[in-house]
């Protein structure tokens, strides 16, 4: 058997049957496309100056998978792939990008991302408690879904007062690791300025802390309810200094948080826009123009400062519509490059000469397995007061509470939501992850037990080749190439394995390929 497989692979090497160029070379597209993107006009000449040849444009098959995973954290269904590949209109990639941003999964996926940064979890050590988590999560998800302007989003998080159950954004202050003004200030600096206050001088830290020195936390008769308000009787006016060095005199009846927020979100403030456009870039492309994206400091410059400046200007001009920034990036050739490099320059990946491969996020990966095979994870919360109801078909990217325990999610590096650092999410592969994917009953049961898998098996009885193609479309969002088909057909012909076992082995092999496990 082993010899047979190898023989087939040699007989039909990749690219030998030139019937359909796209099918034979599934990852790249040779044809060039004129680019109107300002990002491209800034990046491509710079790459040329470095002597780096950028990667080819990615194929439509790669694009449809990539953009689903990057924009909605969800694998496309086979029919969605087929439909996209069939389309012949020149702007079909742009149309797909636009339609994805209107989907519910867009809100799910980006709410998850924001909940990582805003530390949304019920227990330990954040202790928002289940009711607070639900209120806060709802508010964040609604803001993403309704595309709340980003400046307004931040202003509400920073300046709201009231009950954590009723005025959800006040939970921002409850989800900080400590109620001391300097702790809050450091969370604000990290989240909205992308900078670590540990790198500041003591005076700078104290200056910023002053704006958060009048916040009060007060319990109520309601279980785990907390009122966040301002000190109603402050000792007097507050003389404070903004992070850019401007002194301000805050009267006793003024809210120092508002003074700070007004400074932060003012259109001319580079701290505010630089942080968010750099983060969006990092979320979509795997690393920031400034890297790490939450470690902005003078000695950590952007690789393309002009790109950063351009995106900042565009964000302000678009009235802080973040989706506009997403579109600018997603429509660029830089984003739509293949992950297969054309240059062996060591800095090519950091200079965005190709799309960087990275392992699927833990939540996205487990959802992808369930999408492919038709199964579901069952989540439950061990935290009472009150118990959280989680429906059986709950998708993982839509889990509100970071305290929901799951061995799979922890093994695959879901962030613990303790610090709000981007680096909390760990997508590095480990031996334990590999064991789990290759040989666990958890994954084996998903493969064998899902309704979609059973349907593919039924289809194989009438048309095996078509069933194999459906499996390929489900798992890898493309059809098998002729050489791959030959390998699979040879596997199917061997003795000693039942049809179910063969199908399960093929599915097992496909979900263990790098092509499935990685965004590429």
């Amino acid at each position: 058997m082993r010899r047979l497989l190898l023989a087939v692979a040699v007989l039909v090497p990749m690219g030998a049957c030139g019937a359909d160029a796209e099918a034979v070379r599934p990852f790249e597209r040779e044809a060039q496309r004129p680019s109107t993107s300002a990002i491209d006009s800034l990046v491509l000449p710079a790459l040329q100056a470095h002597g780096i040849k950028p990667a080819n444009l990615c194929s439509d098959e790669v694009f449809v998978r990539r953009v689903y995973l990057d924009v909605i954290g969800t694998l496309p269904q086979p029919q969605e792939v087929r439909q996209f590949l069939r389309q012949r209109r020149p702007n079909k990639r742009t149309a797909l990008i636009n339609s994805l941003m209107d989907r519910e999964e867009f809100a799910d996926y980006w709410a998850m991302k924001w909940c990582d940064l805003l530390r949304v979890k019920a227990e330990f050590p954040i202790n928002l408690w289940p009711n607070g988590v639900q209120a806060y999560y709802r508010w964040i998800r609604d803001a993403v879904r309704d595309n709340m302007p980003y400046d307004q989003f931040v202003r509400e998080l920073l300046t709201s007062s009231g009950s954590n159950f009723r005025v959800a954004p006040v939970n921002f202050y409850r989800a900080v690791q400590g109620q001391k003004p300097e702790t809050i200030a450091s969370a604000v600096a990290l989240t909205f300025m992308g900078t670590r206050s540990a790198n500041w001088t003591e005076a700078q830290r104290a200056n910023m802390a002053a704006f958060f020195s009048r916040i009060q936390f007060k319990g109520t008769a309601e279980w785990k309810e907390e009122i966040i308000s301002l000190d109603p009787a402050p000792a007097g006016p507050l003389d404070a200094v903004l992070p850019d060095g401007t002194p301000v005199h805050i009267l006793p009846d003024e809210d120092p948080r508002r003074v700070f927020a007004d400074w932060l979100i003012a259109p001319g403030n580079p701290w505010f826009t630089r942080n968010i456009v750099n983060r969006v870039w990092a979320w979509l492309l795997g690393r920031g123009l400034i890297h790490e994206p939450d470690d902005i400091r003078p000695d950590n410059p952007a690789v393309y400062p002009e790109v950063l400046a351009y995106l900042q200007k565009e964000l302000v001009a678009a009235d802080y519509d973040l989706r506009h920034v997403y579109r600018l990036i997603l429509n660029s050739r830089v984003y739509q490059q293949s992950s297969i490099p054309q240059s062996n320059h060591p800095g090519a990946e950091a200079l965005f000469a190709q799309y960087a491969v990275r392992r699927l996020d833990a939540e996205v990966l487990v959802d992808a397995l369930d999408t492919v095979f038709g199964g579901a994870e069952n989540y439950e919360s061990a935290i009472p007061e009150p118990f959280t109801f989680i429906p059986n078909q709950q998708r993982t990217i839509a889990l509100a509470d970071g305290s929901i325990t799951s061995q799979f999610l922890e093994m695959f590096g879901r962030p613990s939501r303790d610090t709000g650092l981007e680096s909390e999410r760990n997508n590095q592969p480990t031996d334990a992850q590999r064991l789990h994917m290759l040989n666990s009953t958890h994954v084996q049961r998903k493969i064998e037990g899902g309704w979609r898998m059973r349907r593919i098996l039924q289809a194989a009885e009438t048309n095996r080749t078509e069933a194999i193609q459906t499996l390929y479309l489900s798992v890898l969002s493309r059809r098998a190439t002729p050489s791959e088909m030959a390998v699979v057909e040879a596997y199917c012909e061997q003795d000693g394995l039942s049809g179910e076992q063969i199908a399960s082995d093929l599915a097992w092999a496909l979900v263990n390929t790098k092509e499935f496990l990685y965004r590429h």
Partner: protein, 445 residues
């Protein structure tokens, strides 16, 4: 206002400095030493491994190692008899006759306390030695995995921190150390044949098929082939190689309990706990530094005495066989056995509905048992009052017990805790941080 003034005057308190990471390792060493408490900082390790028998849910201390036969029916229920052990003057509950014959090998700490009656918080305190704070610290097993694991050259057949069979839950064991230091949970049931170890021993997939489909995977790895030398993919390939080494190498045989003699398997008891004890012995024999046996079913709010009648003989058989076997093989000197749960149970029985004879959570006073690895046997540490509700002598806090275990394992409890997040942290909290402490267990070390 205050902060502003402090900033203006430029003073930095030591604690602020620590918190904000201004002081490097040298600063930490200066601040963190426990002074009189510390023995020589680099005391050599006496123990090589720990077997933690985690009594999930909290075992009744008064029905096991701290019996109170004179407390009356309201406290004892039907379990009002003790049994003499092979150590003069030490009695334990009469449901543990086999353990009574091994009392020279272990010490009973009857004065454990932390005062917390909630599972999550108590589990956290007992396994980390810390009160809940703003950071989640690693459990003792994860700390062991850091100091005795792969980072420090551990190259054993099995992962350095193993849980039989399900993770304890309640909190993320690795805390801020991250997933690299998490326990490897075996899944499966060691009392079944085969013991299906999640990821290592698959059920119903023959070796031939495993090899065949691995070949299929490689033949279909088109993206990997299109990007030879990609560093991200090369890292995944190394993980795959390691995974297959675990699946097909000697590791699988290590987990194969059918390699044991039938009488040995019988001696441990043919049940999940008994065979977990046997598995734990095989693992420490192979050099695994930390094994947790997560023994479920001790949260006995209802039907307490019926459950005790059923489970205590199981505990008795498995744990006594483990102690005897470790000792017989010369492994007890280098293996710490640590028995206990997150708390004890209320000594006064709850006879009223809905409990109808149950025991609730009791963190004020409970019992832990330690053996081997440098702990003396045949000793009792501390004491509880006539009902077992309060500590009367020599309180022992979780930080004291864990600190003692660390010391025997050659881990400096006051030393820095290196971590991937770059946080300034210490292995165990210093006393000046307000953690209550009764001092390490030097009387039995």
């Amino acid at each position: 206002m205050n902060m502003n003034k402090q900033g203006a005057s430029g003073t930095i308190t030591r604690r602020t400095a620590l918190k904000q990471g201004l002081l490097g390792a040298a600063g930490l060493a200066l601040c963190g030493r426990r002074g009189a408490w510390a023995r020589t900082p680099d005391s050599p390790a006496r123990a090589k491994s720990v077997i933690q028998i985690w009594m999930w849910g909290g075992p009744a201390h008064t029905d096991t190692f701290d019996p109170k036969p004179d407390a009356g029916y309201d406290y004892c229920g039907p379990l009002d008899k003790t049994i003499d052990t092979n150590v003069d003057g030490i009695q334990i509950g009469d449901q543990l006759p086999l353990l009574a014959r091994q009392a020279d090998k272990y010490s009973i700490i009857r004065s454990m306390t932390h005062g917390i009656n909630a599972h999550e918080t108590a589990s956290y305190i007992v396994q980390t030695g810390r009160r809940p704070g703003r950071l989640v610290y690693p459990s003792a097993g994860a700390v062991m995995s850091l100091f005795k694991g792969i980072d420090r050259g551990y190259d054993g057949l099995a992962p350095p921190y193993i849980v039989l069979t399900e993770p304890q839950g309640r909190f993320s064991e690795a805390g801020f150390l991250g997933q690299r230091y998490k326990p490897f949970a075996t899944g499966g049931d060691p009392n079944r044949n085969p013991f299906v170890v999640e990821g290592i021993v698959a059920e119903g997939v023959s070796d031939e098929r495993q090899h065949g489909r691995r070949e299929l995977l490689h033949a279909l790895d088109s993206l990997g082939k299109a990007m030879p030398g990609n560093p991200h993919f090369e890292r995944l390939d190394r993980c795959e190689q390691n995974a297959y080494d675990l699946m097909f190498g000697e590791t699988r045989e290590l987990f194969d309990l059918s390699k044991e003699k039938n009488e040995t398997r019988e001696a441990y008891g043919r049940n999940t706990f008994g065979q977990s004890c046997l598995m734990a012995r095989r693992l420490v024999e192979a050099g695994v530094p930390y094994v947790t046996i997560n023994y479920k079913g001790w949260d006995t709010h209802k039907q307490h005495f019926q459950i005790m009648k059923r489970k205590l003989p199981e505990l008795d058989k498995g744990m006594s066989a483990l102690l005897q076997d470790l000792s017989g093989r010369g492994l007890l000197d280098s293996t710490i056995v640590w028995w206990g749960g997150e708390f004890g149970r209320t000594p006064r029985v709850q006879w009223a509905p809905p409990w109808n004879g149950g025991r609730s959570h009791h963190g004020q006073c409970f019992t832990s048992v330690v053996a081997g690895g440098g702990f003396k046997g045949g000793q009792v540490v501390g004491a509880s009052n006539a009902t077992g509700e309060e500590v009367t002598e020599r309180p022992v806090y979780p930080v004291d017990l864990i600190g003692s275990i660390y010391e025997l394992m050659g881990i400096e409890p006051d030393g820095p805790l290196p971590n991937p997040r770059g946080l300034t942290a210490q292995v165990l909290p210093a006393p000046e941080n307000g953690e209550p402490s009764g001092g390490r267990l030097y009387e039995i070390m």
